[in-house]
């Protein structure tokens, strides 16, 4: 079992979701994060004081999958999330030892 985690630009979420859907991925979990990297933040102004917001809003997408599909999923996410501009984000893979579906108690592949 693997966990694919992607940190992407918010506007790409829909494309990523559809790409995963096309691969038959049935579920995913997303959350709000703030990213810091090569991409520059923006500047706000408040009563003559100017300051920089360095963190940028990003979306983290997490997909549990089996070993076989993992490459396809990574490729699909990367392709769908790409705009070609700095700040497109990262995708990474970690090993998962076990997965359980809460509703049924099924384990491993059946839990997905």
């Amino acid at each position: 079992m693997k966990l694919v985690t992607a940190v992407i630009k918010p506007y790409q979420l829909d494309a990523v979701k559809e790409a995963l859907h096309a691969l038959g991925v049935a579920g995913l979990t997303v959350s709000e994060v703030q990213g810091y990297g090569r991409q520059k933040g923006h500047t706000e102004v408040y009563r003559g004081a100017e300051y920089t917001v360095e963190f940028l809003p990003k979306i983290r997408v997490e997909v549990l999958t089996d070993e076989i599909d993992v490459e396809k999923i990574v490729d699909a996410v990367v392709a769908a999330a790409r705009t070609g501009k700095i700040g497109d984000g990262k995708v990474w893979v970690t090993a998962v030892e076990d997965v359980v579906r809460v509703r049924t108690g099924e384990r491993g592949l059946d839990a997905l």
């Binding site: 918010p10 506007y11 979420l13 829909d14 997303v30 709000e32 994060v33 809003p57 979306i59």
Partner: protein, 457 residues
């Protein structure tokens, strides 16, 4: 030969603007209640107020006003035919009494009272009442309770005219009345799921304070407007409203400080409402110093009263009983204690502290009791009728997911710290939309893929 009454532009101006600010109280109440509520039910809570404006205005125009203020029939009801809403009153003589005010201004002013009285009840039943049930209840209670009770108290009916009970701006007719109905509905609907184990605290305290501010503002129209004219009674009603409310803010804060260790903004806002409620019946009958005392007492007592529900086990969600019912009773009795003819010629029996004995106090208590019993009984009956027929309470699932989604298919906020600002990735990602497009990815044919737009079917 007495001159025919003519319009007094000053009085008319005062009652026009009073009517407008009393109308504003109901949106203010929607904010006050809405902010006190959990976020997942804020819209339903506000809808109960906004729908009361819509519904009660129409009922009042067509028959409520004539029930309440038509010529008295047997002490119980106004002449039904006199002011039916199908008629038009634009003659030069269509003024209200000796006030120099067009009839329609008085009708509009009193309409705003009917609206907010109904809306007040909704705070008790937050997060669990079907919207259709609420509308039905509002219709029934306005018709069977508020309109006749307004007649009894102000329209020449038995409480005001025979019994001689005093209620300048609505201690019995509005606050005790609404509070008793609220208690009845709480018994019909039962507790929110999880109450009292979960605290169910306010989701937006600045909104509570905003609502309290608008209510305070509008209440000057409510109380000082009830004189109908602009004179020195208006002046003292205005002043008493201010100082009693100020004292109640302090009273509630002190009670919190002593009991909980901390004074809160919800407490300050609640204290303001308690003071406003308490001074409502008494504002034109007591001296300013007695209004200050009333405020302190009402602030402290209502701060204590809102805790009673935990001991008695009823879920009066936003404390309509603890604030309006209790505050209304205190203010109503205060006239029997501190009412004085040196302030108002309407006071015939001096209050107890002025050596006038307990006559007026007894009359006040009786009037409050009558309204309490009548309103409670009818509201209970109406509530059970609705529960047994169309059902009054939403499903447990709807309650867990949130009544805003279940009853109104909308949710209060889509903020994400600052959508598009320093945070707000979800909002940027268009979560909650049918499909967040890539920036430049517009549909080829503009109207081809609307978001399930249903207008055209």
């Amino acid at each position: 030969m007495p001159e025919a009454p003519t319009i007094d532009t000053g009085n008319t101006a005062w009652l026009l603007i009073s009517s407008a600010i009393v109308l504003l109280m109901t949106p203010g109440l929607a904010l006050f209640y809405g902010g006190l509520n959990r976020a997942k039910g804020v819209l339903n809570m506000m809808m109960m107020s906004f729908s009361a404006i819509g519904l009660v205005s129409i009922l009042w125009l067509f028959y409520g006003f004539t029930v309440a203020f038509g010529d008295d029939k047997g002490g119980l009801i106004g002449d039904l035919g006199q002011y039916l809403g199908t008629k038009t009153f634009m003659a030069e003589t269509d003024l209200w009494g000796e006030t120099g005010i067009p009839l329609y201004v008085f009708l509009a002013f009193q309409m705003m009272f009917a609206i907010i009285t109904v809306a007040l009840i909704s705070g008790a039943i937050s997060d669990r009442a079907k919207f259709s049930g609420w509308l039905l209840f509002a219709f029934g209670w306005a018709t069977l309770v508020y309109f006749p009770v307004a007649h009894w108290v102000w329209g020449g009916g038995f409480i005001g005219a025979k019994l001689g009970a005093l209620d300048f701006a609505g201690g019995t007719a509005v606050h005790i009345n609404a509070g008793a109905a609220a208690l009845a509905l709480v018994l019909v609907l039962g507790k929110r799921l999880g109450w009292p184990r979960e605290a169910m605290k306010p989701h937006n305290v600045p909104m509570v304070a905003l609502g309290a501010g608008l209510l305070w503002f509008g209440w000057f129209g409510f109380n000082a407007g009830s004189e109908l004219t602009a004179d020195s009674t208006t002046a003292i009603a205005f002043l008493n409203t201010q100082v009693c409310t100020a004292a109640a803010v302090l009273g509630w804060l002190v009670a919190e400080w002593l009991r909980d260790g901390k004074p809160t903004l919800v407490g300050a806002s609640s204290g303001a409402i308690a003071g406003l409620v308490a001074i409502t019946p008494a504002c034109a009958f007591v001296a300013p110093w007695a209004a200050v005392l009333l405020g302190l007492v009402a602030g402290v007592l209502c701060a204590l009263a809102v805790g009673l529900k935990y001991r008695l086990g009823y879920d009066d969600s936003l404390d309509v009983v603890g604030v309006h019912f209790v505050g209304g009773w205190i203010g109503c009795l205060w006239i029997g204690l501190f009412g004085t003819s040196s302030v108002s010629s309407l006071v015939s029996d001096e209050g107890l502290f002025y050596g006038g004995g307990v006559t007026q106090l007894g009359v006040q208590a009786l009037s409050a009791l009558i309204v309490t019993v009548y309103s409670f009984a009818i509201a209970l009956g109406l509530g059970f009728l609705i529960e047994k027929t169309i059902g009054f309470r939403v499903s447990a699932e709807a309650e867990v997911d949130g009544i805003d989604l279940a009853e109104h298919a909308e949710s209060g906020y889509d903020l994400s710290p600052a959508a598009g600002g320093s945070g707000g990735a979800f909002a940027l990602a268009g979560i909650g939309t049918p499909g967040a497009a890539k920036p430049a990815d517009e549909p080829a044919e503009p109207a081809s893929a609307p978001v399930n737009e249903k207008v055209g079917g």
